[in-house]
């Protein structure tokens, strides 16, 4: 809890890490000043790209005491404005799940290697990033907490599977190996409330440590203050629940 007498400072900059296949990828890294030790969060950006919104999310997490790291998951595809890059990636059907898993794991290993890490790292993502962090919680073993926000296509039909997304993420439910916080809007169309119910049911049936919250007045992307879909009370409560969850699992 921040109080006004405290010193506060963060450092935020672009660095380079080696992601999947050792590829150098740009990464936005924001962290509190000081020796720490600090917990860490890896951010998986949404399909609209490695944009200003995600940089702000990254700095916000640093402000709350986390080593916050956001790899550019589209770095290999192109450079340009985030929208132009995202449009090109969208046209190609996104990026491969395998590549994203490698990049998120590389980001986690990077922050864990720092002398001011407390040895704990969580991951947070929205939209396609929500899907990616759920997958990461199942397919990787480096994360201590997962924050899945309105992950679209966590439940995929056979017709939706592609070479880049060859397996429906919920197929991996049994492999989830970290506590998971899920935030969803009831007015969302992807995932639909029925899909969220199925997702929760499958996680509970598998005996996983989960906490789901649904917001009746929120749709997709209700944290996005730069979009009409922003929903103030849901966003404020969602951030509060997220910071509480991360504090509990990463301290």
């Amino acid at each position: 809890m921040y109080t006004t007498e405290q010193f506060e400072g963060i450092i935020a900059e672009t660095i380079t890490i080696n992601g999947t296949n050792g590829d150098a990828i740009h990464t936005y890294f924001a962290r509190p000043m000081g020796a720490g030790p600090f917990p860490a969060v890896v951010l998986a950006h949404h399909l609209p790209g490695w944009d200003e919104l995600y940089r702000e999310f990254t700095r916000k997490l640093a402000h709350h005491g986390y080593l916050a790291i956001s790899p550019d998951l589209y770095c290999r595809e192109a450079h340009g404005t985030p929208e132009d890059v995202a449009a090109a990636v969208r046209a190609e059907g996104g990026v491969s799940d395998d590549q994203v898993m490698g990049d998120l794991e590389a980001a986690a290993k990077y922050v864990l290697s720092l002398p001011n890490s407390n040895g704990k790292v969580g991951t947070f993502g929205t939209c396609s990033g929500g899907r990616h962090v759920f997958l990461a919680g199942c397919r990787l073993d480096c994360f201590d907490a997962i924050v899945e926000c309105w992950g679209g296509n966590v439940i995929m039909s056979d017709e939706q599977l592609t070479d880049k997304q060859p397996v429906s993420p919920n197929s991996y439910t049994q492999d989830l190996n970290a506590p998971l916080l899920g935030l969803f809007g009831d007015l969302d169309q992807s995932p639909t409330p029925d899909q969220v119910n199925q997702h929760e049911k499958e996680l509970k049936a598998a005996g996983k440590d989960i906490e789901f919250h649904r917001y009746p007045e929120a749709g997709h992307g209700f944290f996005y203050f730069d979009r009409p879909i922003y929903h103030q009370s849901s966003a404020v409560d969602g951030w509060d629940k997220m910071l509480t969850f991360l504090g509990k699992n990463l301290s």
Binding site: H46, L47, P48, A78, H79, G80, T81, E83, D84, V85, A86, A87, A88, R90, A91, G93, G94, C127, S128, R131, G152, N153, Q160, T162, Q165, D188, Q189, S190, G219, H220, G221, R227, P228, I229
Partner: protein, 92 residues
């Protein structure tokens, strides 16, 4: 952008982007979250020339109903143009 629904086709023509006119080579039509239009989902049409970089893009984001009207309007204009004996299609 969670649907990943995107249809593509090659096109010939010109588009006017941020740096002026450029030759088009492809149009990508997605049914997904728009960047700017206020709806959760829209029909996003990107006229592009990727050989010139991702910035060579003319973007339009339409509501699904608007996209249908556009498609019908294009077809109607084509019908009238192709039925007019005075119009000769020029091929470079």
């Amino acid at each position: 952008m969670c649907t990943m629904i995107c249809e593509r086709t090659e096109v010939e023509g010109s588009g006017k982007g941020r740096d002026g006119w450029f030759p088009l080579e492809m149009v990508n039509v997605s049914y997904d979250h728009p960047f700017n239009a206020p709806w959760e989902y829209g029909v996003n049409i990107d006229f592009v020339n990727q050989s010139r970089g991702v910035g060579s893009r003319v973007a339009v984001e339409l509501s699904p109903q608007s996209a249908k009207r556009l498609a019908e309007t294009i077809i109607e204009a084509l019908k009238r143009g192709e039925a007019d004996p005075q119009i000769q299609v020029s091929v470079l």
